[in-house]
């Protein structure tokens, strides 16, 4: 019984710690993530069956790899797969045998998997979910709920994407250096989508518990460690660390929402902020600014409130100018208007916001109406502010943000 429990525990630990690594290893060699997943699932099932009786092998990862490789072979024989797959499998078999002889030397191919998942031939919206499943082994239902998609639909899209990787011959490898900058952006964007999924504003406006922030940080570290010459990879990690540092300050003890400007800086994670700051400095040395470095610099300017009491709104507005020039994003235009409102007065902020709202997509974006309401209120227009708050409340997903906005509306002078 204790044996069985120990074996079950070992299998579970191996699943948690090694799943992504083993899957990436198998997939990189057979080019078919679906087939590799099936084989690995069989291997884990076999482990639960054999380990309690035979004891936990000395090198569980290698045992799983050899078993999964055998399943891949059986599957290939059963389905009479192509010559190409057969060749890949022969190579995988040799590699797996070597790994069995020398445990601890299973190459980590998770970065290669990530580049396949975020390949330009894969639809952008599925890249983040695909990375969560393939690299981290999360199940489709959990991913679906974070991305607000039905589990069945998410499952279908994931299967379709993996099938395309195999059928279209999307390579599971890190692109060569000369192609890296072009390909890296899609990987970084996918990781940022994972990080910010479920937030209206990852920079700190939406307080809901996030599903995958720590997963995204882990992925961001993997990429930043591998691409040390790429300042944007480092910039993304700095940006996520800054946002993550504020996780405890987003709600007060009663659970109510606290906007960034009202957060208590002593609740921020100083260690995470310090790491973000030194990463940002390192990235800046390359003198190749980009979207993620700029966003991290904006977060850094907010974090400076730790020392000087108020954020440097002029600097923030200038950074948003640059970011808007680079991305043309309506959300950036909105945040820029808020920064201008703080740096140069509500009137100037309203002018910038009106320009931003020429992109009609902002009109069903909750933070737009919240920002408009604040600026109207500060500009002495309580009726217009109240109407804008009503629109913001109507578009809210999070109950505590809804309560916060309703409270602001109530405090308006009539």
């Amino acid at each position: 019984m204790t044996e069985a429990r120990a074996a079950g525990g070992a299998a579970e630990r191996a699943a948690r710690e090694s799943y992504g690594k083993l899957l990436a290893y198998l997939a990189a060699r057979c080019g078919d993530i679906n087939a590799a997943e099936d084989a690995l699932a069989d291997a884990f099932a076999a482990a639960l069956e054999h380990w309690p009786a035979d004891g936990v092998p000395r090198t569980p990862e290698a045992w799983l790899l050899v078993t999964a490789r055998r399943r891949l072979f059986d599957g290939a024989r059963r389905e009479q797969r192509t010559q190409r797959l057969h060749e890949h499998l022969t190579r995988a078999a040799n590699d797996a045998q070597r790994a069995f002889d020398r445990p601890g030397e299973i190459a980590d191919e998770r970065l290669a998997s990530m580049f396949a998942c975020a390949h330009p031939a894969i639809p952008a919206a599925i890249r983040g979910p695909l990375i969560l499943q393939v690299v981290l082994g999360l199940d489709a239902a959990r991913i679906a709920s974070a991305f607000l998609i039905s589990p069945a639909t998410m499952g279908q899209r994931l299967v379709r994407a993996k099938r395309k990787i195999a059928a279209a011959g999307i390579p599971l490898r890190v692109p060569p250096v000369e192609e890296l900058p072009g390909r890296l952006d899609a990987v970084l964007s996918a990781i940022y989508a994972i990080f910010s999924e479920g937030w209206d504003d990852p920079a700190g406006v939406d307080p809901r518990a996030r599903g995958f922030a720590s997963e995204a940080l882990w992925l961001g570290r993997l990429v930043a460690d591998a691409c040390t010459e790429e300042p944007e990879a480092i910039g993304l990690l700095a940006l996520m660390l800054h946002a993550h540092a504020r996780r405890r300050a987003r709600r007060d003890p009663s659970g109510a929402y606290v906007p960034l400007d009202e957060q208590e800086p002593t609740l921020w994670d100083a260690g995470a902020i310090d790491e973000a700051e030194s990463l940002l400095l390192r990235a800046a040395r390359a003198k190749r600014p980009g979207r993620f470095q700029l966003e991290a610099a904006i977060q850094s300017a907010h974090a400076a409130r730790r020392f000087r009491g108020t954020p440097d709104w002029r600097a923030i507005a200038a950074l948003y100018d640059e970011l808007l020039r680079l991305t043309g994003s309506p959300v950036v235009a909105l945040n820029r208007a808020v920064a201008i409102g703080n740096a140069a007065g509500a009137q100037a902020g309203l002018v910038a916001l009106a320009a931003a709202a020429e992109d009609r997509r902002l009109l069903d974006y909750q933070p737009y109406w919240a920002a408009l309401a604040e600026l109207r209120a500060r500009n002495g227009e309580p009726d217009e502010a109240r109407a804008a708050y009503a629109n913001a409340i109507g578009l809210c997903i999070d109950p505590s943000a809804r309560r916060y906005l309703a409270g602001r509306a109530d405090r308006l002078k009539t």
Binding site: T82, A121, A168, G169
Partner: protein, 120 residues
């Protein structure tokens, strides 16, 4: 793997094009084809006659053969030619598609060819 590069473009531009311009493009295609051959990536390739020469054929459920004139669909870009290439993976196929002269005046669609099964 084998990939089909389908060349789509507005076929009406050829009629309006000055001769030296179409000569230049023809030269670019010859150079591209040579590069494919030199790399051992060339399998097949052809330019097609214009869609006004196309004929559609289908057999109805009761066994009657219908022959209809004209191209399959009325779109802005028409299939004007194709290459079949051999490439190790999609990235390599995309590289060739980008080098194809058509990618700068039209669109190249890259499709993997279905591989026939062989007994393992």
């Amino acid at each position: 793997m084998e990939y089909l590069l389908q060349i789509y473009g507005d076929e009406t531009i050829w009629a309006r094009m000055p001769a030296e311009e179409s000569d230049r493009i023809a030269g670019a295609y010859m150079a591209f084809t040579k590069a494919l051959r030199d790399a051992g990536a060339y399998v097949d390739g052809n330019r097609l006659q214009s869609t006004s020469t196309a004929t559609k054929v289908r057999v109805t459920p009761d066994g009657k053969t219908e022959v209809l004139d004209g191209p399959y669909a009325d779109t802005k870009e028409q299939l004007g030619g194709y290459y079949v290439i051999e490439a190790p993976d999609l990235d390599a196929a995309i590289q060739w598609a980008a080098r194809c002269p058509a990618s700068s005046y039209g669109t190249v669609e890259v499709r993997p060819v279905f591989e026939l099964s062989v007994p393992a």
